[in-house]
């Protein structure tokens, strides 16, 4: 493992240290570039999907280099297939590692899901049963990723549309055990919690109270869509194609009130609106972060006095 000296002057010139604590950010969409370049104060950070920057060169890297010069960048992997039984794709892991080295992202994250099996890439975040066997596979894969990149990654809770009869663990117990065994941090996607809670008929608040909140390094917020299941009851789809739902904002407010200001991303990946619309969503998250920053600091002081 190569240690990067993050205190060296050369490193700091290439990668200015941008704090993201307490900031809200947005998905980086190339359609927004002109608007972002013209914006004096866009958002606290930008997050990119790692796979979009795994080509050898060309405009994607030119764009990301410029953005990284001016803003913090968070790297979000979508296709590592951490949750699958197959071994990780070594070539893909090597590409991921080189992106981490090239852009020194503030946060590196991946999903509790799988997308490749039997050499076929399915391009979706597919669900897994929560068993002793899958626990071992997930932990092995996270160990391998963290070893390769030489730093901690965050694991994101999934949104799911069905359940496995073979699951032995609740999702929160499974995630807590993965974090304990691997030392990974967690990315809490509040929209995913709401989507899964609706789809499977559990309480989102109960899920959050079972979730290891102290390990959260980042939060995701996004929009969802409503369909119906076989019984005609609501089935929510994690579509990332609209504004964050009111119910998700309420849950987010509760989480931030509980945990303090955690860097928060607005994801918007389809039917992408003009930049001011996405920015306004990030500003709404920032307002909640700012409101709780004051009371959170106050609460900590009171707690320490007591």
């Amino acid at each position: 493992m190569t240690e990067v000296d993050r205190t060296s002057e050369a490193h700091n010139r290439r990668f200015p240290a941008f704090p993201i604590a307490g900031r809200a950010g947005a998905s980086l969409k190339h359609d927004h570039l002109e608007a972002i370049y013209a914006d004096d104060d866009p958002v606290g950070f930008f997050e990119v999907h790692a796979e979009n920057y795994m080509g050898a060169g060309g405009p994607p890297h030119a764009v990301l280099s410029r953005i990284r010069r001016d803003y913090p960048v968070l790297l979000h992997g979508v296709c590592m297939s951490i949750g699958g039984p197959s071994p990780l794709d070594r070539n893909h892991l090597a590409r991921f590692k080189s992106l981490v080295e090239r852009y020194d992202p503030a946060v590196v994250s991946e999903h509790l899901a799988w997308s490749t099996h039997g050499d076929v890439f399915f391009n979706d975040l597919l669900p897994l049963p929560y068993t002793d066997e899958t626990l071992v596979a997930v932990c092995d894969h996270i160990d391998e990723v963290q070893e390769a990149i030489g730093r901690q990654m965050l694991l994101e809770n999934p949104s799911t549309y069905l359940l496995f009869e073979t699951s032995d663990y609740s999702e929160t117990d499974f995630i807590r055990e993965v974090a304990a065994r691997t030392g990974c941090g967690l990315l809490l996607d509040v929209n995913n919690v709401f989507v899964s809670a609706t789809n499977h008929g559990f309480s989102a608040l109960q899920y959050l109270s079972d979730f290891p909140l102290d390990l959260i390094g980042e939060i995701h917020l996004a929009g969802h869509r409503r369909q119906e299941d076989d019984e005609g009851e609501p089935l929510l789809i994690d579509s990332h194609d609209g504004p964050v739902a009111d119910a998700v904002w309420k849950l987010y407010d509760i989480v931030i009130g509980q945990c303090g200001p955690i860097p928060t991303l607005i994801e918007w990946d389809a039917e992408i609106p003009d930049w001011p619309v996405l920015k306004a969503e990030a500003e709404a998250a920032q307002a909640i972060l700012d409101r709780h920053t004051d009371t959170y600091m106050l609460g900590r002081r009171h707690a320490s006095v007591a």
Binding site: N52, A56, L128, Y161
Partner: protein, 267 residues
């Protein structure tokens, strides 16, 4: 669909080995290990994944092949792409690498026989995206060539720029490609002759040019290590209209190469 890896049988069948096959095969039933909460049905629930997989891959093809989509129309393209996605799903998690077999697939697709040039348009679009993501390299400057002594010119060897692609078509593929990748209306295309395409990306913008007679023979030879003398002789043999000076000027302007060195003239 490729066979499942041995690990599945070794483990007595993994959940993924059961969950995955019906995703791209609508004839297979919903895997019996999945359920809704409180034993609710999981048919529509599993269908969400089927839909996500198929639609997202169709959309990936639409992003890579917008001219093909425009030519055949959205509805036909989705049908064409759905058949392709099920026949040749991606094997790499990099979606911008998907669709290298799409042009061949179109060539063999019975419902596009009326559009025999469609496969070559897809080849140009696929090469466009390859050039877009190719490694960065400074293009060869005319001054570098100008500094070479005249007697050494014939033995020069050229380093192809990483983005360089050359395609030959018996159809006016470049004209059809260009007409369908610009935002305005597509007029009647009068060209009937075959066209050779030169695809380059000297800086950040991808360029697709129509090559002059003998140009494809010339550049293909140069790109595969022939000396300038050898490539010119070959091109002249292939086309009596081959104009060496114009082709050199054209390839420099396009940024087809990134360096020169003195090679051994085998002519």
């Amino acid at each position: 669909m490729p066979p499942l890896p041995d690990g599945d049988t070794a483990r007595g069948g993994s959940f993924a080995g059961v969950f995955a096959p019906p995703l791209l095969d609508p004839a297979r039933p919903v895997p019996d290990l999945v359920t809704g909460p409180r034993a609710k049905a999981a048919v529509k629930r599993y269908a969400v994944y089927r839909n996500n997989v198929t639609v997202s891959l169709i959309e990936a093809l639409a992003d890579t092949f917008p001219a093909v989509q425009r030519i055949v129309g959205d509805a036909f393209f989705r049908d064409l792409a759905r058949v392709y996605v099920r026949a040749e799903p991606p094997v790499s998690p990099l979606l911008f690498e998907y669709g290298h077999g799409f042009a061949d697939f179109i060539d063999g697709f019975e419902h596009t026989r009326q559009l025999p040039w469609l496969g070559d348009v897809a080849r140009v679009e696929r090469a466009w995206l390859d050039a877009y993501h190719a490694a960065d390299s400074a293009p060869l400057q005319a001054e570098a060539l100008g500094a070479v002594a005249p007697e050494a010119l014939a033995s020069l060897v050229f380093t192809p720029h990483p983005a360089l692609r050359i395609l030959r078509s018996p159809w006016p593929a470049v004209t059809i490609f260009a007409a369908n990748r610009q935002p305005g209306p597509v007029g009647r295309i009068e060209e009937r002759d075959g066209e050779d395409a030169l695809i380059t990306r000297p800086e950040l913008e991808v360029f697709v040019r129509k090559l002059p007679p003998g140009g494809a023979e010339f550049l293909t030879r140069l790109a595969t290590g022939a000396t300038l003398g050898e490539a010119a002789e070959h091109a002249t043999g292939a086309s009596p209209h081959f104009d060496l000076a114009a082709n050199i000027a054209g390839m420099l302007e396009a940024g087809a190469f990134s360096g020169i060195s003195v090679g051994v003239d085998r002519a």
